[in-house]
């Protein structure tokens, strides 16, 4: 039976418009508050070049933590398994543990997708790159096959002005010796990474590399070894949704990563990448409709890894 992906995406878009939902736009970053909370976009891109889109798939949004996957890919490929001396591969359990665990576990963040872990990855990249911000952006542009991908400087600045929690984490990591560079420099790089803007379509295209065993489908360049790609996907599965990683695995069943901008990207190894964007977040910081849309998608299409 042939699956009509176009119809599935249209149906999901229609269905979700009728859901009465609450949830607020991320409000701790001033620049993000002004986003229209009712936007909804979805984009499905196959390795075979076919693509399907629906809703506001063509509007730029702040990908925020989704960007941590790109940062990890870059650092993992460059540093290899030594990276796991400085950051773990386990889910963090409940959110209230984050600082406790960092203290208890001597400054080794549980995984590279919680903020503490991403700060360590940023610190690693600063040591590995000659011009961190420029080099990282170039890397993402290559994955996207699109040189128009940019940081949003206003969002980066806005976040840096109120990023007290991240500063607290970074100083704690510094105290444990797991940040080598000056804290200000690490935070600035981190806030830039999180400020990248993409459309759903661009995000899906950027994630195809992870569905493609580490080969950039746009230029056939090997970005990440097959084994490392498998492991990075596994990490998304285990740790990609903060304290809801189990929930996402349970209901959706694809490796993916969410961001507080309301975006989610996920992949099916060997076949496709899919992205959703809807700014209203649940209490765990994940897009309510984004998770719902992907649950519908894998349920209807049967395209889950399990």
């Amino acid at each position: 039976m042939k699956i009509d992906y176009n119809e599935i995406l249209q149906q999901i878009t229609l269905d979700l418009k009728n859901i009465k939902y609450k949830g607020d736009v991320a409000n701790y970053i001033p620049e993000l508050k002004s986003v229209d909370p009712n936007k909804f976009g979805i984009s499905l891109q196959f390795l075979n070049k076919r693509g399907y889109n629906s809703g506001d798939f063509n509007i730029k949004f702040s990908i925020q933590s989704v960007s941590k996957v790109f940062a990890l890919a870059m650092a993992f490929e460059k540093l290899g398994n030594k990276i796991w001396h400085r950051v773990g591969v386990e889910p963090s359990g409940t959110s209230f543990n984050s600082l406790l665990q960092l203290e208890y576990e001597n400054g080794i963040p549980r995984n590279p997708f919680i903020n503490a872990g991403a700060l360590v990855v940023c610190d690693i990249l600063i040591d590995l790159l000659s011009e961190p911000k420029k080099d990282f952006l170039k890397f993402v542009q290559k994955l996207a096959g699109n040189i128009h991908i940019q940081y949003n400087k206003n969002v980066a600045r806005s976040e840096s002005e109120v990023g007290y929690r991240n500063a607290s984490l970074a100083y704690l990591l510094k105290d444990f010796g797991n940040i080598k560079n000056p804290v200000d420099k690490v935070l600035d790089f981190y806030f830039h990474i999180c400020s990248i803007e993409m459309t759903c379509e661009e995000l899906s295209k950027s994630f195809l590399v992870f569905a493609n065993h580490g080969i950039n489908p746009h230029n056939k360049e090997k970005i990440l070894s097959e084994s490392k790609t498998k492991r990075l996907n596994a990490l998304m599965q285990s740790c990609g949704f903060y304290d809801e990683s189990g929930e996402f695995t349970f209901t959706v069943g694809l490796p993916g990563k969410s961001g507080v901008g309301g975006g989610i990207a996920a992949i099916f190894p060997g076949e496709f990448a899919i992205s959703v964007w809807s700014p209203r977040l649940n209490k765990k910081g994940n897009s309510i409709l984004g998770m719902k849309a992907l649950e519908l998608f894998t349920t209807i299409s049967g395209k889950s890894v399990f």
Copy 2:
């Protein structure tokens, strides 16, 4: 290229014999202390009936927590999604959180594979089954396609005599109202469930149902709906290895479940089930060689879900 599974299993068995490893047999259950720590068995069973075995694949061992998957399958199918009101779907993070989380989260265990969660599942089954111990055993015999599967009464009794930690958990759950039946009855059922004995070959055959979208391959009976099977597999992926669930996902990339008897069972949806047994455990309570063997298997064969 055709994969020679027979050769892979032989090679793994050979390779692991040369590894200098430490690790002790689970010693908190008196009956399990006497197991030969140097046993190693592996069994790979395909849905298409082909099977491959190596080492001590034909010796019975105590499957312990692996049995929690059978208990959950039975309770999930009977109770449906209401089960998630009493137990969660998130990994537990570090072990030292277990009691804290139970207290903090009002007696709702994080997932059905940690002891607290399995105790709740047992409590549920006691309410749903007319003769819990007998009915459960029959269910497992059907999944195994083998009426010779039995409890080991000595192991059950041995564990019940020193099971203070589980008694502590059960009374805490009772205090929160999340155990309905008398604690003694729940513990007795729990210790029986964990005392089931199987060989690697039997265990793999019992797990085929989870690779087969919930249809028992031995008698074609629908045990679990396709959607519930997918979710149960997702839970194994997220939560199957205590505090090493992330590690197992990262290095092996298959949904699976371990037990302190040294057994591990895992599945690849639509294709196969694989079991390993080696009694030496790491500090997290997982079989050292078992994890290593499965890592080698998915690396060589490329058979990971990611």
Copy 3:
């Protein structure tokens, strides 16, 4: 200036009758639910034999955890400083830590006044006494100078029937090897100790020994050495009010101990013992009016140790 203690107690009783307060009677012990929540009694007894009473000072109530002071006094005198190998002298911090700390600190309760610590003290007494329940009661009768002090068997039984939380703690301690006797026996002794009934006047008279450097004022018998008495008083100051020990020290400034029956006993070294009873409890399990009454008493009389 001479202090008119009679007038102070009358004034406090009058003042507190006018306070609009909420707070409920301890409801987790069925037998205690039926207590009249509006009772209020206070009794001040000096070492020089003078005594002052007001309100319902002559009605028996369940002293509950106040009894832990007697149990500790008995065990401390008999076992000496070896007791501190099995229980600490530090306040427990917030309540949600209780189980976490027990796990983290290998089964050594933070102090003898939290439930876990009192269970260990009970276990110690069972080993030291030939007839624990009978011997302990006799000890308390001697401290009270009153052979009519008794256990309330209904309260003990009532608590034992629903004491799941204490059973959970006891099994956890057993798992760590810090309970030597069978859990059932320890719990039975513990519930009996907590079921002792006294009037405010009797309670104050029983506590005079701690104001008297360890000499029982009723028969001049040395119950506890001067140094041990000082330390026991210090422990009441640090740890006598669960998670409100700091608050009680801050507002009242006397060593004391509270119970969920609504009673509080406190002492001023070298001078007096004072007891209050009012069954309505705050969220921390301490008597609302009892704490208020003692704050008024030390503020008006200036009789604080600080």
Copy 4:
């Protein structure tokens, strides 16, 4: 019987010289590393002007956290009970909880003597004082009756360069809105406060005000009301020794405060202040010989509040 305090202090000094002890000088503040670890001084000052000294009582040392008592006294008198909306009065329990509790309890530090609480007190003082550093120093000089008390700028700078843990705490408090001023300003003030240097004799004289119901004995000025003084003393008793507050209460039985410079100050209400200095610290950050000396002092003299 008249107590010969001179002999007691000499005896303590002699006895402690013979103790084989380990313990290291605080090494996280570079400037403090160079202190001679074998120094030992003690000074006992009575309200009636009599004073007794022994050992290195006349050598300046960094009083560090002892200074938090002065800061609290100043803020408490100026702000009154409103201060308790921003900081609690409960001991913190074990150290590993500090960040957890701050998170769990919404940025309200448990008490004003842990670092987080002292940072909040500093923030309060910055709002209340026109020239915080100058005004605070003047306040301490008045309490000491000595205009030569000074900050050690090198210690303040040294601590600020490596004070990552305190920066982490301050940013976390800022995130919760419990620090109003810029974090850098609060940290700078905090590090200055901690850098004050005194001799044992000067420290005892500065603490006499707390033994004197809040009246500065040097100029008869009312610094703190009688009731506030009682409460500040109670706080020292409950919370003055980090995670060893119970231990200090238990073994010494006087309200006091320790610092990582190896100093301890304590008072007996209505009678005296006593200070000890010995730089070797135990794992909890308290002076090993300092605690031992005060235990000997209260045991021999009988001068404990209990």
